[in-house]
């Protein structure tokens, strides 16, 4: 197919967001772009003038999927501005909560959005019809992760126990112990998940790019660390703008980002490529079983990396629960007094590195906020991937071309329209 035009329009509740436009004439790409409106820009304005104590509750509402990451990153930026180091207990609880968010987000993505492509059923609803047991398995794992989120975070949607300095309420040791048993009981489902994804044939594709993620000497970095580029090493979070260079493009209201090259990738595959050695043992076994080897330059394998990270997060949760129980938890009552300061928080969200930067005045009011979300960072890389992919699949039937393009975009697990969900209804009798 030498001439090819695809306009994949993604109808979100706010119209016109998230379109893929590809125009090929005589085998050459004339136009290729992806537009996604990135909303955190507007949320920054809302943070201004707010107290350092309340801003995390606002940023928690930016996203229902990554609420833990937004809240944690916001709190870390505030604590950095106040020059405060939280206790080892608080850090462990935050890591446990983050693991819960990674598991539920990754599992939902691989089961509900990625898997239906392999069955060519359009959506997860098509899978429920003929492969209900697979969907139910995904639901069971997701539900367990949500339970962990509720146990540590007070509730599983927009958790409330996270605060600047410490947790407002600790989980009970006996509940953590009971939860550990539940993870062990669920393990057959995790093994089945690995078998299931092993049975799916990931499309072939290769484009080496720059991979950016957090990294730290002690562990596979999700909660904290320096910012590492596969091209040129590490910087501290406070120097994040040395690595993340945002720029405007004419076709998108969302800023794109580059670092050493004209685009880079964040997310599970970037973390895997940068930090593979620090994965827990079962996660490494699963990577091997699923054919994921470091370094991997096939973007579609980001979804396999998500399965590997899911296993890692379960293993890590067991480790953290054991530590918290054996160390014993104390009720921390920490109220940090306001003061002027400037801090950056960087945390891995399921979709990639999230940055929050805050400046505070003497009264602890926010005078400056900058939030950079993973999907904004991936946009330029998605376009570069598509520029490599499209010329190589033009001999396929049009439906296959479109499916391949969609799968590649979906592999990034992009954040598109979390911000709004307004239903417009038309009743049947009208």
């Amino acid at each position: 197919m030498h001439d090819f035009h695809v306009g994949i329009e993604h109808i979100t509740r706010v119209e016109g967001h998230g379109n893929i436009i590809i125009d090929v004439k005589e085998g050459k790409i004339r136009e290729l772009r992806m537009d996604i409106v990135e909303s955190p820009r507007f949320f920054e304005a809302m943070a201004l003038g707010r107290s350092y104590k309340e801003v995390a509750h606002i940023t928690s509402r930016i996203c229902g999927i990554c609420a833990v990451t937004h809240t944690t990153t916001s709190i870390k930026a505030i604590e950095a501005a106040l020059g405060f180091e939280p206790s080892a207990q608080t850090i462990k609880l935050r890591k446990l909560l983050l693991n819960a968010e990674f598991i539920q987000s990754h599992i939902l993505h691989v089961y509900f959005l990625t898997a239906p492509d392999f069955f060519r059923v359009g959506s997860v609803f098509g899978m429920v019809k003929d492969n209900k047991e697979i969907v139910l398995r995904g639901m069971r794992i997701k539900t367990l992760a949500n339970e962990l989120c509720a146990l540590v975070g007070g509730r599983h949607i927009h958790p409330i126990t996270l605060k600047v300095g410490c947790f407002s309420k600790n989980p009970e040791s006996k509940d953590l112990a009971a939860f550990k048993k539940k993870i062990e009981d669920l393990w057959p489902d995790i093994e089945e998940t690995v078998k299931f994804f092993k049975s799916l044939k990931t499309p072939e594709f290769e484009r080496e790019t720059e991979y950016i993620s957090l990294t730290c000497p002690e562990e596979y970095a999700l909660y904290d660390g320096n910012i590492k580029s596969s091209d040129n090493g590490e910087v501290e979070p406070s120097d994040y703008l040395d690595k993340v260079k945002e720029f405007m493009v004419p076709h998108s209201t969302s800023k794109h980002a580059k670092s050493n090259r004209d685009s880079y990738m964040v997310g599970a595959l970037a973390r895997f490529n940068n930090n593979y050695d620090q994965l827990h043992s079962k996660a490494k076994e699963v990577a091997e079983e699923l054919g994921l080897k470091q370094p991997c330059y096939n973007t579609y394998m980001n979804n396999v990396a998500q399965v590997v990270e899911t296993v890692h997060c379960f293993e890590d949760s067991i480790r953290l629960i054991d530590d918290l129980i054996s160390d014993g938890m104390t009720d921390e009552k920490i109220e940090l007094p306001p003061k002027a300061g400037h801090g950056v928080g960087a945390t891995e969200a399921p979709r990639g590195t999230l940055y929050h930067e805050h400046k505070l005045d003497d009264n602890g009011k926010i005078t400056y906020a900058n939030y950079i979300i993973p999907t904004g960072q991936n946009l330029a890389n998605i376009e570069n991937d598509l520029r490599t992919l499209v010329p190589n699949i033009l001999d396929q039937p049009k439906d296959d071309i479109i499916l391949n393009i969609e799968m590649l975009v979906r592999a990034y697990d992009p954040c598109i329209s979390c911000a709004t969900h307004l239903m417009k209804v038309k009743f049947i009798d009208e």
């Binding site: 509402r61 229902g64 959005l113 539900t143 949607i157 975009v409 307004l422 009743f427």
Partner: protein, 158 residues
Amino acid sequence: MNSKIVVIGIGNLLLMDEGIGVHTINELEKHDLPGSIEIYDGGTGGFKLIDLMQGAARVIFIDAVDTGKAPGSVTIFRAEEVHSIYNKKKYSLHDTDLMEIIKMAEMLGNPPMIEIVGIQPKIINYGTTLSNELAGSMSNIMNTVLRRIEEVCSTPSA
């Protein structure tokens, strides 16, 4: 017989009237409700909402819904009364709407009886306060919601 009734307010508190469902839940928390009622701030929880529906005989969602009526108008309806407009391409988990959640709960089996209390918004834009129109309609909205909860409690098939 299971008599648990779950009331879930959903929406984004950072988008003015879009968060009316959550604002309504915050108001409901100030009332003494029957023991069979559980209320939740569902925020923008997407598929996470399914977990809140587990074990319920009935679920009442409260949400901003564009019915074309005057701002603050309350319309109570069932999912099956709405035209299906949800056969669309998806790239993101973030892009999950209430009708899909309801459809998913139904397909997975043993769904509760589900209804939606839809409130017509006036302004959906970045901001943490309600529009004057919705703030002014709050007592009417609460009366309607409380009356509906009372009806559902006293007449389980209503």
